[in-house]
Amino acid sequence: MKNYTVEVVIQNKPVARDPEGETIHRDLLLKGGYENVKSVRAGKYIQLEVQAEGPEDAEKLVFEMCNALRLYNPVVHTSRIQVREK
């Protein structure tokens, strides 16, 4: 078994407004002169240290737990999983 760092990024689906991202965009970045920024979406970041046989297994494990225990709510969120070997 190897150790892997698995990152999960959870965001609102595009159809659900993200007032935090909108505020960062409008009141911080645009006011700060960064007019090249066209949109901002905020989200939640969860980092897990897991043991698995390989990176695919690590991803599968985290995918399963995300769905079984609802780390995200599939009605309103998307989740993205990324594996890094330690």
């Binding site: 609102n12 407004r17 007032p19 935090e20 505020t23 225990l69 609802r70 709510n73 009605v75 309103v76």
Partner: protein, 217 residues
Amino acid sequence: MVHVLKNVLNVPTELVWHKEFKHSGYDAVVLPGGFSYGDHLRCGVIAARSPAMEEVKLMAEEGKPVLGICNGFQILVEAEILPGAFLPNDSLKFICKWIILRCETAHTAFTSLISEGQMLHMPIAHHEGRYFHEAEALKALSFSRRIVFRYVDEKGEPSSKANPNGAVGNIAAIANERGNVLGIMPHPERASEPILNPSRRRDGALIFQSMVDYIKH
């Protein structure tokens, strides 16, 4: 919650620890508001895995009244007993204020004493009250008359100004198909006695009285 059921509605009520709750001993269950597990990850998601929720699911399937208020509503959604999702309020602020609700259907275990279109005064107190569901699912909810209360203005219109948190369709409460499970964001237990109500009404008690009548019949 316990005070209102015991002393205002005069029904035998017990406060039960979540690891000790057994469905068979009760005619109805109320999941009260609060901040289960500190609202970590998402409101209600961790409590939705508590042993009590398996028992609550059984009660819901048996047709017994299950009422989730505020955090209780969020727990019912995260346990997938009711559909949808909750997001932080549009304003990203905790909101505590009196609002007006319009009853959309009297055909639930909690609204038999309320007529359709009737307006009720109740307070809200939440940070994550923006109910969300996708358009198709909302149509189905509306069609099957499972949207039970909406936030409205003084004229009874579900205007955007009357919407305190950005909930889709101004939704404040939904029910399951049988109408024996209700999730409601506002707090009827804080609007059940005239002394606690700025307009001296007791609108919240109508929800609990409907539930008690449902059990008796």
